[in-house]
């Protein structure tokens, strides 16, 4: 061709010339006019828009659906639909639907169910099927059924219509009043016990209640009895959205169950009957890449979100998750583990006590999930609580410290006796019959690489009752972790993880999986993999092992060392999101990032004594969190999860300013008490002449190598040297070259005279006391002798 159509005008003309023209049939104009005459007038259309808007005051949003789901008129309902109050929802054979209100309450209908929502938005009539109702802030008053009225007293409840006369009511949380022509009864419940109440059929006498005792297998496993596998995918390694997925034992039928804001860990263990699986999620604090760029870096200790770790029971039938949470006075709880009968939870943690909750106590705790009582078993910082199979003994390891390492002790729950066999060990596991314990001794070599060293070591097996000499089962390796017993108790599985630091925050990860005889007579490497090892768990039969890592997903490996039997997948690569889901996923990640950023800003403003600004930031973060389940319906965020965050952040904004000031004052003093000995160590045991002289030095200190977490920058240092109420701390430096005496006060707040940092003697060593007590139980170990990195 002569022309290449570079001239826009020419090209435009060419395209216009390709336009076709069509003439409608002659009668169309009249037909349309007739249709217009028959249609309602425009003025009334406007009114109906208003009526619609008013109805939506009590709107429900459809956040999860498996078709068929229809409204009362047979129209299919889609994700994200707004349903007005007064409408009906029906599910078919395979259908299931979750509705959520703006207030955060949730209604989930199982298959073959029919529900009518009352016009006032307060009641729902269940005419068949099963309804799960999570009631927030008394939003719903009652569920009506043919068998009677279920009045909700601020509660979470599951109502299952057995037939027209009978409805099984499971009170998940709170209590309900059951009422029908034959009588009434109040059904109370512990947080997680399965309590069933049956409304009496006609002519029945009383409402009877029975309690089902849950059975629970404490072995950690990703696979259920019937062979289903639950796994977690972190689409972004920064961990902003954790997705819980499920697959069949052959790797087929992969589907996503729930999303959580933050990190998650490998799901497991399963509850009996394959109905529910325990999962843990964590606050996504470390995942905001631009914290530093946006000047939000701060001291690492100041950014801990409480609750940092959350435990969920994810019901696979209803898709509902229930938190089995630690009471709110606990400011942290670690590595919780559920008892074999699923009634109690053990965890290492610390809580505020005293009349004004100003004191702090750390320990090993047991939380009764039915009565919500916590009892303290041991004082101090404890980690890795593990239950014996009969639920009568807990093995726990002390938080690692340079003087004692990690001491492994046994606590008898029946008489409270503490058995301290004098061994150093962590990450322990009872054998299936409870007679032996496997553990790793804390690694004796180089502690420098990372704090994980505290639970890496050689694997030993020891008789629990008789004591005696421990048997070494990992002769060649010193850096093993996670021993797990085979179901028959004759073999152990453990892993060795190799980390190569490539610099710049990048690591090359690989791992090996070993099997050894419990008597130490042989050991064998059965698998070598790349990537981060998530979990290695025995298949219930003991003939194979599921290995889950970030690169290959889940692999089934023969226990006899004959190699990989099947690669089941389950990585982010084989679970692609549709473009709409991807869009929401990206948007949600950005939103979570923003929320976390606002939270960090809030903490820093608190730290600097600017409480009004902090409040604003917390509210902004709370709004974002509370909006997640509605704004990204395709992701199926767990509303319970995000509401925990929103609630907590709202709680922050309601705190009494003087109480915050008190807390922050302590935290400033603690931070200074941490920096001063460190400074003196680097300056020939000389202390700075005044606190301002500390700033130029502290600015150069970074808490973790390659991270954005600084000890302090100029602004935080300026805030740190005084009480948030404005008074400068009284600083009495130790004279140069002199050794301080126990009891010498080095720092004191003039506004809060009881806040003082003084020298204390412990095991012949002098160190500064800590007001929050957090320092001595942090994951980083006690900082009696701070070391610069």
């Amino acid at each position: 061709m002569k022309s290449n159509y570079q001239d826009p005008k020419q090209l435009e003309q060419l395209i216009r010339s390709t336009k076709a023209d069509f003439a409608p049939s002659e009668g169309l104009l009249n037909k349309v006019k007739a249709a217009l005459a028959a249609a309602p007038a425009p003025a009334s259309a406007r009114k109906s828009v208003f009526r619609q808007a008013r109805k939506l005051v009590h709107a429900f949003t459809l956040i999860a659906a498996r078709q068929p789901v229809t409204d009362g008129k047979g129209h299919a309902l889609q994700l994200g639909d707004r349903l007005p109050a007064g409408c009906k929802v029906m599910t078919g054979e395979k259908g299931r639907v979750s509705l959520i209100t703006r207030g955060g309450s949730e209604l989930t209908l199982n298959s073959n169910s029919k529900l009518a929502l009352a016009k006032n938005g307060k009641e729902a009539t269940l005419s068949r099927g099963e309804l799960y109702c999570r009631n927030r802030a008394h939003e719903f008053a009652a569920i009506l059924t043919a068998a009677g009225r279920i009045e909700l007293l601020g509660t979470t409840v599951d109502a299952n219509m057995k037939d027209k006369q009978t409805v099984a009511v499971t009170v998940v949380e709170g209590k309900v009043r059951l009422e029908n022509a034959h009588g009434e009864a109040i059904v109370d419940s512990g947080k997680k016990s399965l309590l069933m109440a049956q409304l009496p059929p006609e002519g029945g006498e009383t409402v009877n209640t029975t309690t089902e005792t849950a059975w629970y297998d404490s072995r950690e496993s990703i696979v259920s009895e019937s062979g289903q596998i639950a796994y977690m995918i972190q689409r972004d390694m920064d961990g902003l959205v954790a997705e819980i997925w499920m697959m069949d034992k052959d790797g087929k039928n992969k589907h996503r169950l729930r999303d959580y804001a933050g990190y998650g860990s490998t799901p497991g263990p399963w509850l009996p009957g394959d109905q529910a699986v325990v999962i843990k999620t964590y606050f996504p604090i470390m995942s905001v890449p631009d914290l530093k760029k946006r000047r939000a870096h701060t001291n690492s200790g100041g950014c801990m979100f409480e609750p940092w770790e959350k435990n969920w029971l994810l019901d696979l039938n209803t898709g509902q998750d229930t938190a089995f949470s630690v009471p709110s006075e606990f400011i942290f709880a670690n590595r919780s583990s559920m008892s074999p009968d699923a009634t109690r939870m053990a965890f290492g943690g610390g809580r505020k006590t005293g009349p004004e909750r100003k004191d702090y106590e750390a320990g090993l705790w047991v939380l009764n999930l039915q009565t919500h009582q916590t009892s303290k078993l041991l004082e101090g910082g404890w980690d890795f609580p593990r239950w014996s199979p009969n639920g009568k003994t807990i093995a726990a390891s002390q938080m690692w410290s340079s003087s004692v390492g990690s001491k492994l002790v046994f606590v008898n729950l029946e008489n409270g006796a503490i058995n301290d066999p004098g061994i150093r060990g962590t990450d322990a596991a009872f054998s299936p019959d409870g007679s032996k314990i496997a553990y790793v001794d804390d690694y004796q070599g180089d502690y420098g690489d990372n704090w994980h060293s505290a639970y890496i070591g050689r694997v030993y097996v020891r008789d629990v009752a008789a004591g005696g000499v421990a048997q070494l089962v990992s002769p060649k390796y010193e850096r093993c972790r996670g021993p797990r017993w085979s179901p028959d108790g004759t073999r152990l599985l453990y892993t060795v993880v190799h980390t190569k630091d490539l610099g710049g925050g990048n690591y090359d990860q690989s791992f090996e999986v070993f099997i050894a005889a419990a008597d130490g007579s042989w050991m064998k490497q059965i698998y070598q993999g790349k990537g981060w090892l998530e979990q290695a768990a025995w298949r219930p039969g003991g003939e194979a092992i599921y290995i889950s890592d970030t690169l290959a997903g889940i692999s089934l490996v023969a226990a006899d060392g004959s190699g990989v039997l099947a690669v089941l997948g389950g990585t982010k690569e084989d679970s692609t999101l549709s473009s709409a889901e991807q869009k929401q996923s990206d948007a949600a990640q950005a939103a979570i990032q923003e929320a976390v950023f606002q939270y960090v800003v809030g903490r820093i403003r608190d730290y600097e004594g600017k409480f009004a600004e902090a409040k604003k930031a917390y509210l902004a973060a709370a709004d974002i969190f509370a909006g997640l389940p509605w704004e990204y319906p395709l992701l199926n965020f767990s509303p319970n999860d995000v509401i925990v965050y929103a609630d907590k952040l709202n709680e922050f904004t309601r705190r009494d300013p003087s109480a915050i000031a008190d807390d922050i004052c302590k935290s400033h003093l603690d931070q200074l008490g941490f920096l001063l000995p460190w400074y003196s160590k680097e300056h020939d045991l000389n202390y700075p002449a005044n606190l301002a002289a500390l700033t130029p030095w502290a600015k150069t200190k970074i808490c973790i190598v390659d991270s954005m977490w600084r000890i302090a920058d100029a602004d935080t240092m300026a805030a740190m040297v005084k009480c948030p109420e404005g008074d400068d701390f009284i600083y009495t430096p130790t004279a140069p070259g002199k050794r301080p005496k126990a009891g010498d006060v080095i720092l004191q707040c003039p506004r809060h005279p009881e806040h003082k940092i003084a020298w204390e003697e412990n095991n012949g060593k002098l160190h500064l006391n800590s007001l929050s007590a957090l320092r001595s139980i942090s994951n980083f170990g006690p900082v009696d002798e701070p070391s610069a990195q």
Binding site: M1, I15, A20, D21, A23, P24, K31, V32
Partner: protein, 189 residues
């Protein structure tokens, strides 16, 4: 005249003037005659019923196209999400002499259009086939005007590229143009 009467007058005028345009719009997007008539009728009925939500009569044209565009999307979704198969138009070709460069070029354009990604195709067609201004087309597609202009520009670039690639030594195939699908090579460039 009050506002409601104003709007109704504008609507009545638009009905006479635009019915053929709207009908043709559907036809040009490959909807067959009977369905196109139904869609055009629905478009006007919907417009009439929601006339009160139209705040500015001068935007009536883009508003009608907006309704029509959404009706088209919904119609297609009902038909199991068929790709856009633009109407074949032999009459249009006759605007140029057979054998002339323009004839060949027009043929290439008609072949390329249905292979464009839809996000470029709809802006292009609204501007060049339906004679909407950039602002009007942007309102129809609910896009910022800048985005729309950029997409039209992008569409033109893709067409120009196709003309350059196929223009030399090209033999006219009388087969049906391919439906949207194999657009990778164009999209990536």
């Amino acid at each position: 005249m009050d506002q409601t009467a104003n709007r109704q007058a504008a609507f009545t005028a638009a009905l006479e003037a635009r019915l053929r345009d709207i009908y043709s719009y559907f036809r040009r997007l490959g909807v067959e005659a009977a369905s196109a008539e139904d869609l055009a009728q629905e478009t006007f009925v919907l417009a009439w019923q929601n006339l009160s939500s139209l705040r500015d009569e001068s935007k009536l044209k883009s508003w009608l196209y907006c309704i029509a565009y959404r009706r088209f999307l919904r119609y297609r979704a009902g038909a199991a999400k068929q790709p856009v198969a633009l109407a074949e138009d032999h009459a249009a070709g006759s605007k140029h002499d057979p054998g002339s460069d323009e004839y060949l070029a027009a043929h290439i354009v008609r072949q390329v259009l249905p292979t464009l990604p839809e996000k470029y195709l709809h802006p292009l067609l609204l501007v060049y086939w339906e004679d909407l201004s950039y602002q009007e087309a942007a309102r129809v597609l609910s896009l910022p005007a800048g985005t729309l202009a950029w997409r039209v520009h992008r569409a033109l670039k893709l067409i120009r590229q196709a003309l350059a690639e196929k223009g030399d030594g090209y033999e006219i195939e009388l087969s049906r143009p391919k439906a949207v699908g194999a657009t990778d090579s164009l999209d990536k460039s």
